[in-house]
Amino acid sequence: MSKPLLEINDVHFSFGANEVYRALNLRVHKGQVAAIIGPSGCGKSTLLNFIGGRLYPNSGSVICDGIDVTSLRRNALFEFRKRLGMMFQASALLTDFSVFDNVAFPVRQNTNLSETLIRHLVLMKLEMVGLRGARDLMPAELSGGMARRVALARAIAMDPLLVMYDEPFTGLDPISMGVIVKLIREVNDTLGMTSLVVTHDVREACTIADYMYLLGDGKVIGEGNPDRMRESNVPDVRQFMNGLPDGPVRYHYPAPDYADDIIGGPV
């Protein structure tokens, strides 16, 4: 196995009194598509913010390509981010820019390439996601699936080492979802990148991931390739992978005894 591109070591993090992570550890190897799965609110997106240096853990280290992100100062952090690509859940396209300009944006801002070269580069990325013909459309004219594909093209515009996908399948119709699933795998393999997909869509995650981590209770509660995860006997993993309404993660939010609440409550 190659050296890990990304290492999360013993990360602890709290939002006020809410403890999000207690001793989170995980590794993502070069060339892998790794899926981080877990229920809503378990801190999956927070993990992406650690890697991008937008949030800092209370303790522990986040090492990407040998660099400890938590120790970077402002300028070094911005320099480091040039090696990352990120696709946001809501696409986060710049609404005043056309599709072409959105994809060209990081290249224009971070390089001195000529406009001719930028045009070639952008058209190549748009061709890859099947939207070369939509280059002149504005974000408001795109469907949700198209916007997600433009966001993907923008995320890979700088040929990053690591591409992070924050809930890439949420809110898409089955066809668009299939397109995004296919694109994530294709882009990763064709361009030799490493991908980290944060999602709660188990089926799609199993389709594309080489390795999966299931988060819960502030740490990794299950890991392995999709087959191993599906066959796991660990109750938490079984509940999540099979979408069972009750199990270790309770169906009911903690509450006083039902009978006491009904009979003894205020009249």
Binding site: R81, Q89, A92, L94, Q109
Partner: protein, 257 residues
């Protein structure tokens, strides 16, 4: 106890907010050097906050000048001093109404738009996306808008005062019969370049700085929800207006002793 807790929480919250605003201002000022290298961005924002605010400034300036001409004439004529009308209109506009009313209108028109724009960019994760693309949103989004506000405000105030003087002329000279020569010469004698015009310019620069700072900070610091952006926009208009009026008193007491 609850009231004391609330007071404590409010105080801590206010101090933290002032701290954030101060750090934000330093970052924005530091980014202004970057903006100078991107004149295209600055020009775009000067158009957005300056040129697009021009209509409301010019129309307001004209009517304010006309009202000043009418009220000034009605007051001065009782003392046989209507020859001072030009001076009264010009002094009122250059010293006070030009900078103050322009800043109030600027806060309502351009300031609120800046806050809403930046706040919505935050709510739709556009600022976060920029950060992740290694583009500092303070350089790319905030600093050009802030600098454009500081540059546009004195220019708008000058135009407000100029059109106001013309409005006073329309009513005083064309309508009420004050001699045109007396109107202009009274203005020439009574208005001093440094004491009046320069101080008015200083006021408008200070107001532009404060309004632009409040507007971009409120947008950047907004809670990223539709309600949060709405509240931030309201805060911009209220805080900027109150700051303008309070600062006007302080500056006036320092400038015109």
């Amino acid at each position: 106890m609850n009231a004391i807790q609330q007071l404590g929480a409010w105080t801590l919250g206010s101090v933290a907010r002032w701290g954030r605003a101060a750090i934000f201002l330093f970052q924005t000022l530091a980014s202004c050097a970057w903006v100078v290298r991107r004149i295209d961005l600055l020009m775009q924002q000067i158009f957005s906050v300056g040129v697009l605010t021009l209509l409301i400034i010019l129309v307001s300036g004209l009517f304010v000048g006309m009202v000043l001409g009418l009220q000034g004439y009605n007051t001065l004529v009782d003392f046989g001093a209507e020859t001072s009308l030009g001076m009264v209109v010009a002094l009122t506009l250059t010293r006070e109404l030009g900078p103050v009313l322009t800043a109030l209108l600027f806060a309502g028109r351009a300031g609120s738009a800046l806050t809403a724009e930046i706040g919505l960019m935050k709510a739709t994760e556009q600022l976060a996306a920029m950060e992740m693309m290694a583009v500092d949103p303070i350089n790319r989004v905030v600093a050009p808008r802030f600098l454009a506000g500081v540059i546009a405000m004195p220019l708008l105030a000058a135009m407000f005062a100029g059109v106001g003087v013309f409005g006073g002329y329309l009513v005083g000279v064309s309508l009420l019969g004050v001699d045109a020569g007396v109107y202009w010469s009274g203005m020439q004698e009574g208005v001093d370049l440094y004491a009046d015009i320069l101080n008015g310019v200083i006021k408008s620069v200070v107001f532009g700085f404060v309004v632009a700072w409040i507007a971009v900070f409120e947008g950047y610091d907004a809670t990223p929800t539709s309600e949060g952006v709405s509240r931030a926009t309201t805060r911009t208009v209220v805080n900027a207006s109150l700051s303008i009026l309070a600062l006007d008193f302080i500056l006036t007491s320092l400038m015109f002793k």
